[in-house]
C-alpha cells in the first residue's frame, strides 16, 4: 500500500449499530491497482459496511473515496456518486442472482456493451458455465450460482471487484475449487479486488495484503503471512483453547502452508508459515492452541 499513487484511496466514518451497542466505524486505507486486499475481523466489526460504503449502498457519515482519477465520494464537496455510476463488481454473500434470468441473460444484463458478446462467451468458458448458460439460478447448485455471481460481476467491466464473504455459503471442497476460479479471474483481468472473509486459508491463498478490523477500526495491516502466521504462541492466555492431534496433511498454499490435524473426530486446517510447517512431519502428534485469530501448533 503505497502512499502517493494508490489506485484506491478510501477514508470514511459511519456510526454502526451492533449488538454490543453503537460503534464508530473510522477507516482509511489505500490500495494499488491489481492487488487483492482481504478484510478480516469478527462479525460486527464493520467489514460488510465498509464494502457497502465503497459501493454506495450505505451512506458514509463523512469521508472520501477516490478510484483512479474519479471521485466517488467526498462529503466536504457534497459528492456522492450513486451506486449505478460506480464501476464496481459486487458479489453478494447469498449471490443475489435474478430468478427470472438465465445464466447467459444475467451476464448480458450486466454487460455495458450489449452487442459485444465476446466477453460473455469468454466468461462462460473461463468459469465453465457454457453447459449451464440457458439454465435459471433455481436449477443450479451453490457452487454454480457462485460462479455465475462472479462472472456477472466481471461482465459489468468493473474497475473494482468487491467480494462479500463470497465462499461462506459453500462447503470445504467447493471453497477450494472456487478459490481457483477467483485466481483465474485475477490472472485474466488484473482487477483491484477487496475480499471480506473470516476464513484464513482463503485470505492466505488469495490476498496480497490484509487488514484486520475490530470494532470499526483497523487494528493491524500488512501481508497475510505476516499478520496470520509466524507469531509466537500465547503463553498464558485465558481466552485460548488447547487440544492434541496427529498431522494428516501438509500442503503448500500461495503464501504459506495448510496443515490438516486430526483432533478426536474432527479435522482442523491450520495455516502456517513455511518455517513452521517444515518443522512438522506427517503422523506426528502435536498440540493445537487456538486464540482469537491465531491458531498455533506445538510439536
Amino acid at each position: 500500500m503505497t502512499q502517493s499513487t494508490a489506485f484506491l484511496d478510501f477514508q470514511a466514518t459511519k456510526m454502526l449499530h451492533t449488538a454490543q451497542g453503537r460503534e464508530l466505524l473510522d477507516i482509511s486505507f489505500r490500495l494499488d491497482q491489481g492487488r487483492i486486499l482481504a478484510i478480516y475481523g469478527p462479525s460486527g466489526a464493520g467489514k460488510t459496511t465498509l464494502l457497502r460504503i465503497l459501493a454506495g449502498l450505505t451512506e458514509a457519515g463523512s469521508g472520501h473515496i477516490r478510484v483512479g482519477d474519479d471521485t466517488w465520494l467526498d462529503t466536504t464537496r457534497h459528492i456522492h456518486l450513486p451506486t449505478r455510476r460506480r464501476a464496481i463488481g459486487f458479489v453478494f454473500q447469498d449471490f443475489a442472482l435474478f430468478p427470472n434470468l438465465t445464466v447467459r441473460q444475467q451476464l448480458e444484463y450486466a454487460s455495458p456493451e450489449k452487442h459485444d458478446s465476446s466477453i460473455i462467451a469468454e466468461l462462460l468458458a473461463l468459469m465453465e458455465l457454457e453447459a449451464l448458460q440457458h439454465h435459471r439460478p433455481a436449477l443450479l447448485s451453490g457452487g454454480q450460482q457462485q460462479r455465475v455471481a462472479l462472472a456477472r460481476a466481471i461482465a459489468r467491466r468493473p474497475s473494482l471487484l468487491l467480494l462479500d464473504e463470497p465462499l461462506s455459503a459453500l462447503d470445504e471442497e467447493m471453497r477450494n475449487k472456487l478459490q481457483e476460479y477467483i485466481l483465474k479471474i485475477q490472472q485474466r483481468f488484473h482487477l483491484t479486488t477487496i475480499l471480506v472473509s473470516h476464513y484464513l486459508p482463503e485470505i492466505l491463498r488469495l490476498a496480497d495484503t490484509a487488514i484486520i478490523l475490530k470494532k470499526g477500526r483497523i487494528v493491524s495491516e500488512g501481508t497475510p503471512a505476516s499478520l496470520f502466521a509466524g507469531q509466537t504462541p500465547p503463553q498464558k492466555n485465558n481466552s485460548s483453547f488447547k487440544t492434541t492431534g496427529t498431522i494428516l496433511r501438509i500442503e503448500p498454499s500461495a503464501n504459506a502452508f495448510i496443515v490438516s490435524v486430526r483432533c478426536a473426530d474432527t479435522i482442523i486446517d491450520l495455516t502456517l508459515s513455511a518455517a513452521e510447517a517444515t518443522a512438522l512431519n506427517l503422523n506426528q502428534t502435536v498440540s493445537v492452541i487456538f486464540n482469537a485469530i491465531n491458531p498455533k501448533i506445538i510439536p
Partner: protein
C-alpha cells in the same frame, strides 16, 4: 319463455367493460404506488397504506355517499370538473370508473406490495451495482419476479369491480346502457319481483366469481410449486 325472463345482456356487458377499464387503470396506478410503499423510507407511508386499505373495511354505501358528495356539481370538486373540464361524474360511466378505482385500489395494491416485500432486498441492490437505473431494475428484474402478484392483483381488482353494488348505486343509479351494471340489474329485477330473471343474472355472476377464484388459486399453486427464488 315469456318476456319477463328474456335476459338483457347489456348490464353484463357494462359490468365487464367497467371491470376491464378499472383493472387496466389500476395496474398503471398500482405499480408505482406499491413500489413507493415497499421501498420508501418515509414514516407517514403507513398512513397512506391505511387510507388505501379503507375500502376493504368501509361499508360501500359510506364510501359511495362521500364520493357522491365529492363528485356532485354542487360540491367544490364536482363543480371544478364540470366547469373547467366539462366532466360530470354523477350518474355517468366515467363516474363509475372513478368510484371503482378507489373502491378496488387495495385489491390491486396489496398483492403487489406483498410481492415487492417478499423479493430479497439485494436483488434491487445487485441491479444497481450492475449500473442499472431504478426504472430498468423495476421492469427487467422486479416486475418479472412478482408475476404471480401482478396476475393476482389484476384478477382480484377485476372481480371486485364486477361485484360492487353499494358504491355503484350511490354514484351511478340504474341508467340502462350507462350505469346499470349486472349487480344493479339483479336488484331491479328483485324489486319488480321478476325472480327468474334475477336468478339468471345471479347464476352468471356466481359462476363467473367461482371461475375467477379458481383461476387465482391455480396461479398461486403453480407459482408456489415453481417458485424460482434462490
Amino acid at each position: 319463455m315469456n318476456e319477463h325472463s328474456t335476459i338483457d345482456w347489456q348490464p353484463l356487458w357494462l359490468s365487464l367493460k367497467l371491470a376491464s377499464v378499472t383493472m387496466l387503470i389500476l395496474l398503471l396506478v398500482g405499480i408505482p404506488l406499491a413500489y413507493w410503499l415497499a421501498y420508501s423510507r418515509r414514516r407517514w407511508k403507513v398512513a397512506i397504506e391505511a387510507v388505501i386499505g379503507l375500502p376493504m373495511v368501509l361499508p360501500p354505501s359510506v364510501l359511495g355517499f362521500y364520493l357522491l358528495l365529492a363528485f356532485s356539481p354542487a360540491g367544490a370538486f364536482g363543480a371544478f370538473l364540470s366547469r373547467y373540464l366539462d366532466v360530470r361524474l354523477v350518474f355517468t360511466f366515467p363516474g363509475l370508473v372513478a368510484a371503482s378505482l378507489i373502491y378496488s385500489l387495495p385489491f390491486m395494491v396489496n398483492p403487489l406490495l406483498a410481492g415487492f416485500r417478499e423479493l430479497p432486498a439485494d436483488l434491487k441492490e445487485a441491479s444497481r451495482t450492475l449500473g442499472k437505473s431504478d426504472i430498468t431494475t423495476l421492469f427487467s428484474i422486479l416486475l418479472p419476479n412478482i408475476r404471480a402478484s401482478l396476475i393476482t392483483g389484476s384478477v382480484l381488482s377485476f372481480a371486485h369491480t364486477i361485484g360492487e353494488f353499494g358504491v355503484v348505486m350511490m354514484i351511478g343509479g340504474s341508467i340502462p346502457g350507462q350505469t346499470k351494471v349486472a349487480s344493479v340489474a339483479i336488484y331491479d329485477e328483485v324489486l319488480s319481483t321478476n325472480y327468474p330473471l334475477a336468478n339468471r343474472y345471479a347464476i352468471i355472476l356466481l359462476g363467473f366469481s367461482f371461475c375467477i377464484l379458481l383461476l387465482v388459486n391455480i396461479i398461486n399453486h403453480y407459482y408456489n410449486k415453481h417458485k424460482a427464488l434462490p
